[in-house]
């Protein structure tokens, strides 16, 4: 029998994989994709509890998370393009323009 604990463990594992991707990789596009993995982990949790509690509120919040993820991807990729046009790199270690 699959309980919510199984879904929470899956969600936590996916979240940790995303956190490792954010912390370890240097390519900022892959860091953005890791953030999408983290948001998906949160959505799995929300939908699992929505199914457990027999109401649709968790699914509504998952829809809001997807909308925010779409907005974040659009603005973030716009920033990456603008940065690449100026500096010819997407290495996160070279993104230190704001450092004095």
């Amino acid at each position: 029998m699959i309980t919510p604990v199984h879904y929470m463990l899956l969600s936590a594992a996916l979240f940790i994989i995303g956190v490792v991707g954010v912390m370890v990789r240097k390519n900022i596009i892959i860091i953005f994709m890791s953030i999408e993995l983290i948001l998906n982990a949160v959505n799995i949790n929300l939908v699992a509890f929505s199914a457990q509690l027999q109401n649709g509120i968790g699914q509504v919040f998952a829809i809001f998370v997807i909308a925010v993820a779409a907005a974040e991807a659009a603005v973030g990729l716009g920033i990456i393009l603008a940065f690449y046009r100026n500096k010819e790199t997407i290495n996160i270690d070279e993104m230190n323009l704001m450092r004095s």
């Binding site: 956190v19 912390m23 649709g56 509504v60 909308a67 659009a74 716009g78």
Partner: protein, 170 residues
């Protein structure tokens, strides 16, 4: 039984493709693994009875966001991959250590939650519709109308912001 087999298969695929997304050197391959990952998450939503959200996941994530990523990967045209040169100031071990700290935190929350079980939720008022899509639509247009409108404003602002950022000159 069949549900358990489906869950374990889908969970193994989700985690395996997520590891591939994070570890693959080639960014285009990483994006393609991300599509597969999103499709298996949509299958998990179907398993949980959230068919509307599964359709949204396929349409918005696998269809929209990933195409955006692919366009950016093609546009930036990496002559020199970021991982090629070493930065002496970068501490990868510290990154793994911080991720392990997050894992410990999650474990602590899980242990605390199993020691002190939460009070049972009050029964939610019944919704006068049946079916997953009707249920979600009913909630979106009654209890969550203002967040729904704010989300639409957020998407509009993000769209304008992305256009302004990506334009060469205004």
């Amino acid at each position: 039984m069949a549900q358990a087999i489906a869950f374990y298969f889908i969970a193994a695929c989700i985690l395996g493709f997520a590891v591939l997304v994070v570890t693959t050197r080639d960014t285009v391959h990483s994006v393609l693994f991300l599509v597969l990952d999103f499709l298996f998450v949509a299958a998990l939503y179907v398993l949980l009875g959230a068919q509307f959200l599964a359709a949204i996941q396929v349409l918005v994530y696998a269809g929209g966001i990933v195409v955006l990523y692919l366009f950016v990967v093609m546009l930036v045209n990496l002559k020199r991959p970021p991982e090629a040169h070493e930065d002496p100031h970068r501490r990868t071990k510290l990154g793994f250590g911080l991720a392990a700290a997050v894992l410990l935190e999650l474990g602590a929350i899980a242990v605390y939650g199993s020691v002190n079980p939460a009070a049972p939720m009050p029964a939610t008022p019944a919704i006068p519709v049946s079916g997953n899509t009707e249920q979600v639509g009913w909630l979106l247009y009654t209890s969550y109308l203002i967040p729904f409108e704010i989300a639409s404003m957020l998407l509009l602002v993000a769209m304008i912001g992305a256009i302004v950022l990506a334009k060469r000159e205004l």
